[in-house]
């Protein structure tokens, strides 16, 4: 309000539009030199990649879509996704237990994190591999009672479940700490307001706290997922031998051409990582709702009506009128002050 008044005054005082500044920008020669150096290095790199026969690009082309390699990509993805899902479920549980009033819950959560974070994942994978030697069949049923479902795990997929267990349990310890930090980042007033409204503990956690904690949780969890993608290359410890790294390594050993097959593996890891990054971007955007204030408020009823090409009729008082300025952020605009001045 005050600012607009000033502007209006200034404009009328000069009797027309103000003269806009057209200044000569400061030159930055250093930036140009730096950019030139980088471009030169990139050009050199590309030239060497293209002309050095040791890269064996024809072998790369031959194996990049090889059926075994593509299967390896599939197994690697499956390992990554399943162990992350297991880790996330466990981590939510561990983080909630850590905040519990029950000392046994708090303590066991602490011990879990201490143990799985404190031992190498390679060792854990070896251990889970040995467990399958001890228990070659797995069954689901009543404890001490009859088994309902039984799997006999066969080679070479027999290492899959121990690999997921090893990766997932280890990861759960790291994620638990990330989730704990996320839950702590949500203001206590949020839970209090929800309690005062009579919401149950579970609903407060799922609908109020976790969604807001996600803002803090998602970026490091994305990091961990990408880390997990690469950690899956350790599953040969179990041993599980169908993942991307193992497959490309054995192809390299067979063809005596390690470099092109390393390029094949690296390309696939990069592709998957890029896809994961895109996914993370959208998840972050979803949970940034209400915090990143860039998005203008949308009235769903009006938006639907606009999409259908009709005006909203008989709806309750709605949000933003067409043509009305939308405040883009948390700043108090002149209109707000005007409104509250009534």
């Amino acid at each position: 309000m005050v600012m607009t008044a000033h502007k209006a005054e200034a404009a009328t005082a000069q009797g027309g539009a103000p003269e806009l500044i057209k200044a000569v920008p400061v030159r930055h020669p250093g930036r140009w030199v730096g950019a030139a150096v980088i471009l030169l290095l990139v050009a050199l790199g590309i030239q060497s990649l293209a002309t050095n026969p040791q890269f064996h690009w024809e072998t790369v082309a031959l194996y990049i879509l090889d059926v075994n390699v593509v299967r390896g990509v599939g197994w690697t993805l499956l390992l990554t996704v399943l162990s992350m899902v297991l880790a996330i479920v466990l981590a939510v549980l561990l983080a909630v237990m850590r905040q519990s009033d029950n000392p046994i819950f708090r303590w066991s959560s602490w011990v879990w994190v201490w143990f799985f974070r404190g031992t190498p994942v390679y060792t854990q994978l070896l251990f889970w591999g040995l467990v399958t030697v001890l228990y070659p069949t797995m069954s689901l049923g009543i404890p001490f009672g009859p088994a309902l479902v039984t799997w006999v795990l066969e080679d070479p997929t027999r290492g899959f479940i121990p690999a997921v267990l090893g990766l997932g349990l280890n990861e759960s310890a790291y994620l638990a700490e990330i989730f704990r930090a996320g839950l702590k980042s949500v203001d206590k007033g949020q839970a209090e307001a929800a309690e005062a409204l009579g919401m149950s503990r579970g609903k407060i956690m799922w609908r109020i706290i976790l969604p807001q904690a996600m803002r803090v949780i998602v970026p490091p969890t994305g990091n961990e997922t990408i880390g997990m993608l690469k950690t899956t290359s350790l599953v040969l410890a179990v041993p599980f031998t169908l993942d991307l790294t193992f497959v490309t390594n054995s192809l390299a050993n067979r063809t005596y051409l390690p470099i092109p097959l390393l390029i094949v593996a690296a390309t696939w890891y990069l592709v998957i990582t890029s896809i994961l990054m895109v996914g993370q971007h959208y998840i972050e955007k979803h949970y940034g709702k209400g915090i990143e204030s860039g998005a203008p408020p949308v009235n769903p009823a009006a938006a639907k009506a606009a999409a259908a090409g009709t005006a909203p009729t008989g709806t309750a008082p709605t949000g933003v009128e067409p043509g009305e300025a939308i405040p883009g952020g948390p700043t108090v605009t002149g209109k707000d002050i005007e409104e509250s001045g009534r």
Binding site: G290, P297, G341
Partner: protein, 270 residues
């Protein structure tokens, strides 16, 4: 629940002639060794506006938070609508209520916080709808209609689809009031609802509260806005050091305080 716009009942002897909605009997509260409430007795009748004042640390917030059991009391009893809050008395012994039961008691008691505490990931209208849908199991469409009505009542129908971060403090606090009202509470608790606001935004929130008071809502209000107490308050209670020092009709207490401590405090805030 009292319907809005119901005329206030007759006033007898300076107090209303209605039933006692809140009964606080000999309440003590310790935080560890810290004796914060030292025997509080107080009643609030239906439709009354009880204003609580007192210096910082005197226990006003704690008392308010005991009424909806956000804090447990160490001794005494608190009744709302003749129901003992937080406990169940059987055979002369107190049993803690199950969390579900406590949640049920809280539904009847709305609370407005100094720092608004709107759910940051939800728009204004979603904030107001949340409890009716999640707690009462109301349908979404009906809850939304009601939420928009309530936002209109607090003068914010144009801001219904804004997130809290896109609202000024005064607007956030009015959404918070609408959110509490959406549960149709019988009693509203306000803990310094205007003290986190810029001076020019205080008036809007107070106006909404005055409207609410005139519509017959029972309110317990912690505030330093003496003008509000004078205008719509039925009782004014001055607390200091965890005890009620003085209580009476606001105009009398303000014009003619009986205790030195009350005089000193009022001279500082007036």
């Amino acid at each position: 629940m009292s319907a809005p716009a119901q005329p206030k009942p007759a006033v007898v002897d300076g107090r209303r002639d209605t039933k006692e909605l809140v009964r606080i009997e000999g309440v003590h509260k310790y935080f560890g060794d810290h004796h914060v409430l030292r025997g509080i007795d107080m009643t609030v009748r239906q439709g009354e506006v009880a204003v609580l004042i007192g210096p910082s640390g005197s226990g006003k917030s704690t008392l308010l938070r005991c009424i909806n059991h956000l804090e447990t009391i160490s001794a005494g009893r608190i009744f709302v609508d003749d129901e003992l809050i937080g406990y169940h008395e059987r055979g002369g012994k107190l049993h803690e209520l199950h969390l579900k039961e406590i949640a049920r008691q809280r539904r009847n008691i709305g609370m407005v916080f100094q720092r608004f505490n709107l759910f940051g990931h939800k728009t204004a209208v979603e904030n107001v709808m949340e409890a009716p849908v999640q707690v009462k199991g109301q349908g979404k469409a009906a809850a939304r209609r009601r939420a928009l009505e309530l936002l209109d009542r607090v003068g914010l129908s144009e801001r219904a689809y804004h997130y809290p971060a896109q609202l000024s403090g005064g607007q956030q606090q009015r959404v918070a009031i609408a959110r509490a009202l959406a549960m149709d509470p019988e009693l509203m608790l306000f803990d310094e609802p205007t003290s986190a606001l810029d001076p020019e935004l205080v008036g809007d929130v107070l106006n909404v509260m005055k409207d609410l008071a005139r519509s017959g809502m029972t309110m317990v209000v912690v505030t330093h806005e003496i003008g509000f107490a004078r205008e719509v308050g039925d009782t004014l209670t001055f607390m200091d050091g965890g005890v009620v020092v003085e209580s009476g009709h606001p105009r009398e207490v303000i014009a003619n305080p009986q205790h030195e401590r009350t005089k000193g405090f009022l001279s500082r805030v007036l």
